[in-house]
Amino acid sequence: MISAAEALKDFKKITPKKIPEVEMFAQGHRACQGCAEVLALRLAAKAVGDKLIAVSATGCMEIISSPYPQTAWLSPWIHVAFENAAAVASGIEAGRKALIRKGRIQDDGAKVVAFAGDGATLDIGMQALSGAMERGHDFTYICLDNEAYMNTGIQRSSATPYGAMTTTSPPGKLSKGQVTWKKNMPAIAAAHNIPYVATASPAYHIDLMNKVKKAVTVPGPAYVHIFSPCPTGWRCPPEMAIETARKIVKARMFPLYEVIDGRYVLSRDIKKPIPVADYLATQRRFRHLKEEDIAYIQSRVDADWDRLMALIKATNPEEEA
């Protein structure tokens, strides 16, 4: 198998002037107003284009896109269950591989892409995802991270940020809300030594589409983690969704980067970060946090950023000289 860097040598970037016109996800779906998860999904599907074979995990995006007899999917699409999108995708890839090798179907260049929420990815589907990445299937896995189980009514997941209020991490006399730090899923994906891992935000839509396009271009497994604001669940105005997706990047709280063949590359340096307090302020899920809680979050965000910078340095030794 060639490396990701090799596969991306002649990569044709999507630019503001060359945004693909093709749509693989139709309008008229049933997502909430201001849902940035469905926006991220549409942009990702667009970036893949008409070669897309999509797999959805159970969750908001599946529910809002497929009330029988309607479908928002213009590509071939399958939904099976909540925790198994990666396993289903691996089966599709294996089936097509065998059929192409045996001359039973033509190699049409289709790209198998799984879409799953943070719950489906970081919690219940982690094992299936780990297995599929480890086995090296040629597929892309996109986690649409809205930081809770939104479909079932805003329950916490291991992607829910520290301090956030959800319906199962309610702030109370004895609790600040979510008491654990967000699980670092991109790092877990990268630890599988897969050719391509990236983080993206719909506020940076060209960057997002290019990362998805790269993910489906490299041979083998690719993982893209997309921050996906949920105004309904985060208690913020729908018109603030994109702003929120931008602020978290500017606060260094959700850095945009790629891991190409194990090499960490920063997509957007944030020289003058905004305080995390600015990011937290517009979402009512953080309203109960006290100054010292915010200070704690700031300190961990700073430490995480430093760690990422160290990783970038460590994996790009030639650039140091």
Partner: protein
Amino acid sequence: MAKRVGLEVSLACSEAVKLANVDVIAAYPITPQTHIVEHLSELVADGHLDAEFVPVESEHSAMSACVGSSAAGARTFTSSSAQGLALMHEILFIAPALRLPIVMAVANRSLSGPISIWNDHSDIMAERDIGWIQTFAENGQEVMDLTLHAFKVAEDHRVTLPMIVNLDGFILTHVIEPIEMPSQEEVDAYLPPFEPQQKLDIANPISMGLVGVPEVYTEARKAMLDALEKSYPVIKEHWDGFAQQFGRQYNPIETHHVDDADTVLVTMGSLGETAMTAVDEMRAAGRKVGQVRIRLWRPFPSGDFLDAISGAKTLVVMDRALSPGADSGPVATEIKSLIYATGGGPYVADFVAGLSGRDVTREDFKQMVDKAEAAAAAGDPMTFEMWGVKE
């Protein structure tokens, strides 16, 4: 030309899968299924079978990968037992709803707890309502034949449903038996390449697995139920075709000396062969005993079953699993409800026997018949007994 070989039954299953020229195998090891998938991975590794062997990280993913592969249009096989089958449970219901003709061999084994690797039917009895076609094999030859038949039925466009071949763990999986191995030409003449009715294809996009709101859920389930019911004549047709091609005839319900029998033993799976010997011995002693073997478990061949037992006064049903809290084991419960609907019928005695590999001998069968006949004659409430419990 077919040739007769001595082969471990698990390997006969794998060889049938190879003869079916399967495209994808996604499986996870569990005793007593292991030899089936080990041999398949060898066949793939040695280039004897051109297929993708997907060594998944769990049975949940095995069944999920099978769903994906079948939806992509590939002929797909898996195999499991007990805990593994239970781990697939959630996805087992989805495969027939999506009308995917996956074939699975279930090497039947006890469910925990306590954990035990030996044979009974508690694993598959927990999966009665998944909507798969299910057959039971009694010996190695049947495992080979029913596996080939399963692909033929499952993929028939009048059916398009997944199918399970049950074979008893160890009692079948781990014994070497003489097996008539068909040639590739014979199998090819019986089993054409898989032509999926619909598949995930960028040239012709479809959506699979949509949300079924209350307005359509009932109808979606009814459609699945109809498909399962309509598979019955096709199952028979392909058994008849099998007999023409290979010379061995199979039937949904197999009978032995039922015509003038007062008492009929009802078995499913490999215990049927021991029971048959017991019946022969009781016949030799002048007793009017017969036997019914359930080969097709889903869809249940109600008409064939009722025909087969129409003359019987007493049924002695063998259950190989418990249905805790119910008034009999799962097989007897179904048979009783079937008979009740006829408005008459025989006395039904139910014995849960052979749990987790506990031997059931010819002598046991004779004692069960004695006990059932006595209880029926005395007009006792219908017998339900866990056989051979040590005090």
